[in-house]
């Protein structure tokens, strides 16, 4: 379980998160929605320990991410997929995926690379397994990024606007892969702008506005009268649909 209580985070004088409470259990797919600058990405970066939290508590399966000793354990349980892929440019797709299993989980290199190829095959990239990131298209890079996160067999998959840097065609190819992963029962926290997609795969929607979580509802409720009853949510949905 990922458990967030009273999370505060600010950058200098700008407060980005003001007391967030959120619990995510095994098997859930939670989409975090909100306009740009609402603190969605920062929330993900607080869960994987990339940002130091200023107040409150974030635990992953009981491991406190703000404690250096527990952070490693917390990170072993989650995998992150980034908006800009962040692949290691000097490694092939297979090497990108196999690095952490070999170095962190002590999986033999041969096994790790075989597993990497299996994952790449699942996302339709077996042909490009030995290509370097610079030789791949954006959508292909993001598929490698997803495989890299999955290779660590994480209990939770954290996805930080993973389609924002892609054109519509590539977005579709990445989203269909994510839908597959969701079906297999992986717990996902999904920060996104893709409302329709969020609606189709999420079990729950969390809505952030100016650093506060103003809605945390099951997906059907969020997109029904219950959600629409909240002025900020209604405003956001109508604006996003217009775009």
């Amino acid at each position: 379980m990922i458990s967030i209580t009273g999370l505060h985070k600010s950058f200098g004088s700008a407060t980005v998160l003001r007391g967030i409470d959120l619990e995510i259990s095994q098997g859930e797919v939670v989409s975090v929605l909100g306009s740009s600058g609402s603190g969605k990405s920062t929330l993900i970066r607080c869960i994987n320990g990339l940002e130091k939290i200023d107040g409150g508590r974030v635990t992953v399966d009981g491991f406190d991410v703000s404690k250096p000793r527990e952070l490693a354990d917390a990170r072993k349980r989650s995998g992150t997929v980034f908006q800009l892929f962040n692949l290691y440019p000097h490694m092939t797709a297979v090497q990108n995926i196999a690095l952490a299993p070999v170095e962190v989980l002590n999986v033999p290199r041969k096994d790790a690379e075989a597993e990497a190829r299996r994952l790449l095959q699942q996302v339709g990239l077996s042909e490009r397994a030995d290509a370097y990131p610079a030789q791949l298209s954006g959508g292909q890079r993001q598929r490698v990024g997803i495989c890299r996160a999955l290779a660590m067999k994480p209990s939770y998959l954290l996805l930080d606007e993973v389609t924002s840097a892609l054109d519509p065609e590539m977005t579709a190819e990445v989203l269909s892969i994510l839908a597959n992963i969701a079906k297999q029962g992986t717990t996902m926290v999904f920060v996104t702008h893709e409302i329709e997609f969020a609606r189709s795969i999420s079990t729950r929607i969390a809505f952030l506005d100016k650093g506060q979580m103003i809605a945390d509802l099951p997906t059907e409720d969020f997109f029904s009268d219950k959600g629409m009853a909240m002025p900020r949510v209604a405003q956001f949905l109508s604006k996003m649909r217009k775009d």
Partner: protein, 270 residues
């Protein structure tokens, strides 16, 4: 004696330079002629020679010097690289102490002339009971000075890495040392091939200063040949061209290395 290049350098005995019609000429020796002009001035003219053939028999000796330069540079390049890596790691580490210490080292050795550093070690080390020969002193001094420049290049290579790439490594649970060794360093070294090459070329040129502490590397042995042959112009001219040829070939190798290491980094779907 074959004369490759010769011309007249004319000086009027009454002082002043210039050309003047000649009346008669008398050769004093092969290089000096006394000429008498129509206006009554005597004119001194010297035949200038550029003759490389006198160097022929000194070539084996010069090659020995070249070999020493090569050895010194190779060891010092390795020394600089090792030192530079360690210092770059210290400078990019989170430890304030290591950070300061390495910054002071780089700043000092970059801003003090190499010859002063060399004399500091050459005359200073025996003072504290460390007796090592000129060769070792030279290699140590070159490595320390080279290390300062090398670390700066590697450091800026590391700082230029996309922060997201390092973050991806962090969240996947890799240890700091592993991230440095497997991610930061390989990326930084790939992008730093050319600037590192300039540092190493500079190191080759700087190694000539070792001739001032009695080391007969290329420059040192050329000095000896110049004083034996009394033909310093030819000797040092050849030396200059030899160094230029050496550094040019090194830069060609570096260019090839850069292309080789970055062959997979070009954008575009293969």
């Amino acid at each position: 004696m074959p004369t490759i290049l010769s011309w007249l350098n004319v000086k009027r005995s009454g002082g002043g330079w210039g050309t003047t019609p000649l009346k008669n000429a008398a050769a004093v020796d092969t290089d000096l002629l006394i000429l008498l002009s129509e206006t009554g001035f005597t004119i001194e003219a010297r035949r200038l020679q550029f003759d490389l053939s006198i160097l022929a028999k000194h070539i084996p000796f010069l090659l020995e010097g070249t070999w020493l330069t090569f050895k010194v540079c190779l060891i010092s390049v390795i020394g600089s690289l090792v030192l530079g890596l360690l210092v770059a790691a210290a400078r990019t580490s989170s430890s304030t102490f290591l950070n300061r210490l390495s910054a002071v080292y780089v700043d000092m050795f970059r801003n003090i002339p190499f010859i002063v550093q060399l004399f500091f070690f050459y005359f200073g080390l025996p003072e504290i009971g460390i007796y090592i020969d000129a060769l070792s002193t030279g290699i140590i001094a070159l490595s320390i000075a080279g290390g300062a420049f090398t670390s700066d290049v590697i450091r800026s290579g590391i700082l230029a890495i996309e922060p997201g790439v390092i973050e991806a490594a962090q969240v996947s649970g890799l240890k700091r040392a592993t991230i440095f060794r497997r991610i930061a360093l390989p990326i930084a070294l790939r992008t730093s091939v050319r600037p590192l090459g300039s540092v190493f070329i500079n190191l080759i040129l700087t190694s000539s200063v070792l001739s001032t502490i009695t080391l007969n590397e290329l420059t040192g042995s050329a000095k000896i040949v110049a004083s034996q042959t009394f033909r310093p112009f030819e000797v040092y001219f050849v030396l200059l061209v030899a160094y230029a040829a050496l550094t040019w070939s090194v830069s060609i190798v570096i260019g090839a290395l850069h292309r080789h290491l970055n062959r997979n980094q070009a954008e575009g779907v293969a």
